[in-house]
Amino acid sequence: MKAVFISFNQALREDIILVFDELGIKGFSFWEETQGRGSHTGESHFGNHAWPTLNSSILTMVDADKVDTLLDLLHGLDKRNELLGLRAFVWNIEKSI
């Protein structure tokens, strides 16, 4: 099991859910509004007057074999429109109930 944290422009939400469904990923936690700022090229997403866009975040636990496919698809999604912005981070799950 791996944990995947995805932070992305709100506009991409439906595409991500589509990817999840495609891969049979059923469970996830979703934060509708997250604020953030990219480390390198990313714009700020603060939902305020100057930076009106907002991010959403998803934390999902997936089987290790699905992680690569998921990241590839997400990367594709990001490539399709780099201005919107999408980042994903993966780490191990030690234990779960």
Binding site: Q10, A11, H49, A50, P52, L84
Partner: protein, 1046 residues
């Protein structure tokens, strides 16, 4: 979920909601009635009290002054004026605007009841009159007739008035100018004396002969019959055979001592149309009825009515209010249509995309149609004001949609799918859109609070625009994003054809962007010079503004003219008739523009209270009404025509006063503006002399003064019979009896009524005409005492000739005389300045009061109101902006565009040579809301760039460049939307032209300067802020470092 997200996610619901609004709107439109102006309630009450037989001074002392004292204390009274004339006292109460007249009428009635008992015995019941737009005639018909003239009144009453009255919505039909039938019994005083009879006895006999009496019931056998004694005359000839005196051997018939004539009244008001005598029929509508509909029905009914009339009686239409309504409405409809077309062109020019243009333009019909629902719900009509509101609003309703669509498009171009782009794009600008709408509403909503004459016009305008703008914002936040999500594509391909057409436009727009950037860089390098230049420009324009002429309402060409011509008081009616005929013939020949010329002359019937009060009439007075061909069909305006006609009248030296009013009405805001100089003083002779002197001076020295009229008429000669009370007492005759004797012989005694075909006609007994033509005839009148002993008037009274004023006018309980100066072609402010300089050269006696008023006074009051309104509007707009930016300084920077708007206003008025009137002033107030929109868009975006980390100058330049197109686009839609109003020559367009000119000038000028000056001032404020911020950050870091080292 936010409203726009819902709208985008539920496109069908959204679409159908708007379809529903449009359906309701169109339904309301079909139910709306059409009228010229909104219904309004006047702020005046009129109280008329008859006091028969009293002259002006008697009426003033015994009735008017008494009632004035009582009425002076009613609530909310603004001004109390009165006119005392022979037989009548008329008091006019002018209330503060907005007073509930229903309450006021009750209040007045209470006061009248209180003072009722103190009025003299002869005075009649006071009547209270209220005015409203319903009193404006819908149609005036003129009737020409030759052989049928003597019977005309009855013919018209039976066959025309009755038929017209049956039309739904017709309020009243009144006939004037037709001779009315009367049965005259003209007695010979010598014969009366010989038989020892008096007029009173004859009257008594006629009255008792002419009577039907029920005789009771009679049972005969098994039936009951009612019994009647029939005595009424069937033929008027029967009156001749009445036996007035029967001795043993012979009887004296009435025809032996009198001439009995079945004839028409000798003193009547005669009416001529196009030179042929006839009558006129005035048709008024019921309150709330549709003028156009009634006029159409009347016109449709006329051919049928005409068929039933004798061949020599011809009915034609003299005046039809619905004509000018239809013309105005048609004109305005095309104005709205052109405005719509221009706005569409602007949008397609800037966007270059059909679908985007469609989305934006769709908000126009949706918002406009929604306002019809409001009109129907609030019981309004489709009139000049409400239609003009549409044409004012049309350029503004697209603004919000433009801003929203622009932002959504930029999101799509960055790669968002249309649906998401629609939601987030709307979200970003939603607040700004609402804020700009609020600033516009902050301007138009206070207009609904304007009172007075101006309120009549601007209240509906304020409501209409506020509602339309609010609805356009709702559409921009729901319909626009929904349509964007459905119609816009991520990468719209552009066809070759399109590139050929649109390519050059795009190049122009790009060049404009770059040009603006270069200019902006330049002014930012020369900031002080820029600001000094702008301030100088502003000051220069203010200096120019000082010499700007002012006016109240711009006079408008409605193809009508009215006038009053007076000959020397006491002129016989035949001479007046001759003069009128010559004038009419001259004009008819000289001016082919005249379609109908109607004039009335002569004395109106005593019981026609309305004629007595509403219009001057007398044997020496000619009342004129002319209708010209409609505006497109003639070269000369009614003002030029009237001026030329006035010049013609100089050939008629017998005319003492000349008053011609282009437009038909005088004063009251809409017609020809007048400057009234009121001269207060008790002494008639001295005030008259002063007024004459001033009149002479004004006519000689004041430019543009057309008609100068003195309100007080010339004294007219009258004979007074002064009874010696001692002698009366010796003879045992009460004073009132003696007076009644004189009255019955000269004026006549209405003995009874002659009835025929359901109508009744007066039977009047008096001396024959040749027995009442000299003082001797009065002196020889025999008065009988209770013992039946006769005594001649000359033995108990003096008959002397005196001069008396025909009427006495008072205002605020003081006698005054008005010098009213009409100036159709010169602004009032110049006339007032001229009058004031004349007054300065004159010696004004200490007990005189002088006041300059009239339309000028209304104008001053309205301008003062508008000044307050302007301040209120500026404050409201500031509040809206300050709360949007959460800053005190940002709105201040934006409001710098206001002085330049003022500069633009003054320049545009100057160039087009338009005086500053109420509509222009309202236009200037509207500008406050319109011009700050540009500033908001600009400063908002520069702020955004700075928050995103740009330093000031870069933020200003890139922000300015990127906002140039939206600013130009919204400005251009508003400007071009106004252009049809400014240039199209339709009926009634004179009123709105100044407003359109002011908005175009002010907005164009302020936009140009806003784009340069606002960024410059912004940098000053921003640099200060930046320094403050840098110091604060440095202090913070220093503090932290010092804590760490501890």
């Amino acid at each position: 979920m936010s409203i726009y997200a819902t709208a985008v996610k539920k496109p069908i619901t959204t679409l159908l909601c708007f379809v529903a609004v449009i359906v309701f709107g169109l339904y309301s439109l079909s139910k709306l009635s059409i009228d010229l102006l909104p219904d309004f309630e006047s702020n005046q009450l009129m109280i008329m009290t008859p006091y028969p037989g009293a002259n002006a001074s008697d009426v003033e002392t015994n009735v008017t002054r008494l009632m004035e004292d009582g009425l002076n204390t009613v609530d909310d009274l603004k001004e109390l004026s009165s006119k005392s004339m022979e037989n009548f006292s008329v008091i006019t109460l002018e209330y503060e605007w907005g007073t509930d007249l229903d309450v006021a009428v009750n209040d007045v009635r209470d006061k009248l009841d209180m003072y009722r008992s103190q009025l003299p015995d002869g005075a009649g019941q006071p009547t209270i009159f209220r005015f409203s737009t319903n009193m404006i005639p819908v149609v005036i018909l003129s009737v020409e007739s030759k052989e049928s003239l003597p019977a005309l009144y009855k013919i018209l009453d039976d066959r025309v008035a009755n038929a017209l009255n049956r039309i739904n919505g017709v309020g009243s039909v009144s006939i004037s100018g037709a001779p009315q039938r009367i049965v005259e019994v003209n007695l010979d005083p010598k014969k009366l004396e010989a038989y020892n009879l008096s007029i009173e006895q004859i009257g008594q006999i006629i009255s008792s002969e002419n009577m039907n009496l029920p005789g009771g019931r009679l049972d005969i056998g098994s039936d009951t019959y009612s019994l009647r004694v029939q005595g009424e005359f069937i033929e008027s000839d029967e009156i001749k055979d009445i036996i007035v005196l029967a001795n043993q051997d012979r009887a004296v018939k009435l025809s032996d001592i009198a001439e009995v004539k079945d004839t028409s009244r000798d003193k009547i008001e005669e009416s001529y149309t196009n030179g042929i005598q006839g009558a006129s029929i005035v048709i008024l509508k019921q309150s709330g009825a549709n003028t156009v509909e009634i006029a159409d029905k009347v016109k449709a009914a006329l051919p049928e009515i005409q068929k039933n009339l004798p061949p020599d009686v011809k009915i034609s239409i003299l005046m039809d209010t619905s004509d000018s309504i239809k013309n105005s409405i048609a004109g305005l409809t095309s104005t709205v249509f052109y405005a719509f077309l221009f706005v569409v062109l602007v949008v397609i020019f800037f966007l270059g995309r059909w679908r985007a243009t469609f989305i934006i333009v769709l908000t126009i019909p949706v918002s406009l149609v929604a306002s019809f629902v409001y009109l129907l719900a609030s019981d309004n009509t489709l009139n000049v004001i409400t239609l003009s509101s549409l044409s004012i609003a049309i350029g503004m309703v697209v603004d919000d949609a433009i801003v929203v669509l622009e932002n959504i498009t930029s999101h799509i171009e960055r790669g968002s799918p249309p649906k998401q782009a629609a939601i987030y794009g709307t979200n970003e600008v939603g607040v700004a859109v609402i804020a700009t709408t609020l600033t516009v509403a902050a301007v138009f909503f206070p207009l609904t609070l304007v009172t007075g004459m101006a309120g009549l016009m601007f209240k509906p305008l304020g409501w209409m625009v506020t509602i339309i703008i609010c609805f356009s914002t709702i559409a921009a936040l729901t319909l626009t994003p929904m349509l964007c999500s459905q119609l816009l594509k991520q990468d719209p391909g552009r066809s070759k054809m399109f590139m050929i057409l649109y390519g050059p436009i795009e190049k122009i727009l790009d060049w404009l962007d770059n040009f603006y950037e270069r200019t902006l860089r330049l002014v930012l390098r020369r900031r002080l010079i820029t600001i000094t230049g702008a301030v100088l420009l502003f000051i220069i324009s203010l200096v120019m503004g000082k010499s700007l002429a002012t006016e109240f309402f711009p006079p408008s060409d409605n193809a009508q003219m009215s006038g009053v011509l007076k000959l020397e008081t006491g002129t016989r009616v035949e001479i007046t008739k001759e003069t009128a005929k010559r004038i009419a013939e001259l004009w008819k020949e000289k001016y082919p523009e005249i379609e109908a010329l109607n004039y009335t002359l002569g004395t109106a019937d005593d019981d026609n209270i309305f004629a007595v009060v509403m219009q001057d009439n007398g044997d020496h007075i000619i009342n004129l009404n002319a209708r010209f061909s409609s505006m497109g069909k003639r070269d000369r305006s009614i003002f030029q025509l009237t001026d030329s006609m006035r010049a013609d009248l100089a050939q008629f030296p017998e005319l003492k006063t000349i008053e011609l009013n282009p437009g038909g009405r005088k004063g009251g805001g809409m017609g020809i503006p007048t400057v009234d100089v009121e001269i207060y003083g008790y002494d008639f002779d001295r005030t008259n002399a002063f007024a004459q002197d001033l009149k002479r001076r004004v006519e000689q020295n004041v430019q543009g003064a057309a008609d100068v009229l003195i309100s007080r008429e010339d004294f007219k000669p009258e004979y007074q019979v002064v009874f010696d009370r001692k002698k009366l007492a010796i003879q045992g005759i009460p004073h009132s009896t003696a007076a009644q004797y004189v009255r019955n012989r000269i004026n006549g005694l209405t003995a009874s009524k002659f009835r025929e075909d359901g109508d009744e006609y007066d039977i009047v007994v008096r001396y024959g005409k040749k027995h009442r033509e000299s003082i001797e005839d009065i002196e020889n009148i025999i008065v009988y005492n209770s013992q039946g002993k006769g005594v001649k008037v000359k033995e108990i009274a003096d008959v002397k000739e005196v001069m008396s004023p025909p009427s006495i006018e008072r205002k605020n309980r003081e006698r005054f005389v008005t010098l009213s100066i009409s100036a159709p072609s010169t602004p009032l402010s110049e006339v007032v300045a001229g009058v004031n300089s004349e007054l300065k050269q004159m010696d004004i006696p200490a007990d005189f009061g002088i006041k300059v008023g009239g339309s000028f006074e209304d104008q001053q009051e309205s301008f003062a109101d508008l000044g307050v309104l302007l301040l209120m509007v500026i404050l409201l707009v500031y509040i809206v902006m300050a709360s949007q930016f959460e800053s005190f300084s940002a709105p201040f920077i934006i409001m710098l565009s206001l002085p330049f708007a003022l500069t633009g206003v003054i320049l545009s008025l100057f160039i087009t040579n338009t005086p500053l009137g109420i509509t222009a002033a309202i236009g200037a107030i509207m500008l406050v809301g319109i011009v700050v929109k540009n500033g908001i868009v600009l400063v908002d975006f520069i702020n955004l760039n700075r928050e995103r980390g740009d330093e000031t100058f870069k933020a200003v330049i890139s922000g300015g460049k990127s906002r140039l197109r939206p600013v130009l686009m919204t400005t251009a839609t508003t400007l071009l939307g106004m252009i049809p109003m400014a240039v199209m020559p339709t009926e009634g367009s004179e009123m709105w032209r100044p407003m359109a000119i002011v908005i175009i000038g002010g907005l164009a000028f302020s936009t140009m300067l806003t784009l340069l000056v606002v960024p410059v001032v912004y940098t000053f404020f921003s640099q200060r802020d930046e320094k403050k911020k840098a110091r604060k950050a440095a202090a913070e870091i220093a503090l932290l470092e010092s804590l760490k080292s501890k």
